[in-house]
């Protein structure tokens, strides 16, 4: 199964990646190979086998609802390129 170039572009857009024309062709081949492998796995009959969602024994580790102090605002904003009056400033987002 070979992906179309449009599909590669769509996936790149979802991941916010800008690919060169050469990269699109290369990743198209690589992604197609991965899909081919997945297609082989899908041939296995798994009708009565529950999906493996965890390799741990199914037991929930829950946390009690006890708040603990958050980080100070200036620490949270320490790595922000454009802090603005206690906020992260980002390029405009249109709703």
């Amino acid at each position: 199964m070979t992906l179309t170039l449009a599909e590669v572009e769509h996936i790149a857009q979802l991941a916010r990646l800008h690919l060169s024309e050469e990269e699109k062709i290369r990743f198209r081949e690589q992604l197609s190979a991965i899909l081919d492998y997945a297609a082989r796995l899908q041939q296995v009959d798994t009708r009565d086998i529950p999906p493996t969602s965890s390799v741990l024994p199914p037991r929930s580790r829950l946390r009690e609802d006890e708040p603990r102090p958050a980080l100070p605002q200036q620490v949270i904003l320490a790595n922000a390129p454009f802090p603005y009056q206690g906020y992260f400033r980002v390029p405009p987002v249109l709703e």
């Binding site: 979802l14 969602s53 741990l56 946390r63 609802d65 102090p69 906020y87 400033r89 405009p92």
Partner: protein, 488 residues
Amino acid sequence: MPYETVIGLEVHAELQTRSKMFCACPVVDSTRAEPNTAVCPVCAGMPGTLPVVNRKAVELALRVALALECEIAPLSLFARKNYFYPDLPKGYQISQYEYPLAQRGVLRIETARGEKTVRIRRVHLEEDTGKLIHMQDPDGQSFSLVDLNRAGVPLLEIVSEPDMHSLEEVRAYATTLRAILRRVGANSGDMEKGVIRFEANVSLRPSGSQTLGTRVEIKNLNSFRAMERAIAYEIERQTDLLQNGQAVQQETLGWDEAAQVTVSQRSKEEAHDYRYFPEPDLPPLVIEPEWIEQVRANLPELPQAMKKRFIHNYGLSAGEAVLLSEEEAVARYFEACLEQAGDSIAPRTIALWITGEIFGWLNQSGEKFENLRVPPAGLVDLLRLTAKGIINLNTAKLVLNEMLASGKPAHAIIEERGLIQLDDAGQIADIVAKVLAEFPREVASYHQGKTTVFNWLLGQVMRQTAGRASPAVARAELERQLAGSKGN
């Protein structure tokens, strides 16, 4: 061609926990707190952090799911919903997808045509996003601000089947669900603070058809009003399209509050490809049957059941029962009064005093029911004094108003102001005689057949006693003396 509207609703409700869904950051009022002051590496999406599920959030979710008569999954899974948006620091939202916490419930709503059951498809746990504020520089450049205080707050998503066919049904569904969320303690119901948000699926089909038409999804409806207007707008828009032979496009819409129209949100269409996969950082959520039974046993009586009980057991009207059952504090007050009163006062009398006098006073004074200064025993005392004839009905209303304002008990006010009902027949007879002597012209016109003067004369008697005379005794005495004075 007549069309039938088909509506399904997704409700997002924040769960009232003290800490966030997957970390111990405090949950703050995101409309008031300083931005980014309730944020830690987990909810800021820092690499290397791990989420841990809040037990209370699961418990509240179970309460809601059981109140909606859902089947609880003994094992459910968290999943990553991947999309990029600045209010989502991890680049994915932890949610539940293929294996939700609960499925197949019902919500019974009341409509003009009687009770109707709306099926609940699923109830699942997820986390809220941060908040975005859109700004403009003085030089006109736009930018957005991100506050992550709300990021990671536990959120419950409740998805209905497309079982609703009118605005009335949607309204009943939304208000009934909100009342349940509040009653089980899952959510404050404070719409102003955005703790409940709606998304609606709307489609039309020819009346009588069983297949669903093309639907649109309207996102970000933050109030009952916005939800109703957006759905009403969509019904009209789609009806116009279909009647003109055009097709409805399947799309995601937003509601433009200012323009009162729905608008296409192409940016979010693209992001619809969420690439869900099981959250590798969280083990399956296991709910032991004992936990379910314990939550079920601790569920409070729901507003609808309470309303029916009030009508059935206490003979209240539907309107009175709604007023007394929709707020938990009011319901508790009413039932505490009933308990205090025993058999001494009819439940309906108590109901009418609460919904009439007390609610009236609250409306006028702007006070909150929660701050009421008259305890149930205080109201019952007052009603007993009235029932025993110690004070009359009008005096009781005056006394209650003063009790509400000052918090003083009824007997103190009655003593202080000398309001005890006057029912001594001899004393009242003297006052009636005095009134008749004072107003001979009115007495004459009464005898000439102008019977309405009777009430005016009774009013004079009440005035002479500062309202304290027993109306029954005064009325009887006035009738007796007027009959006696005829022909004089």
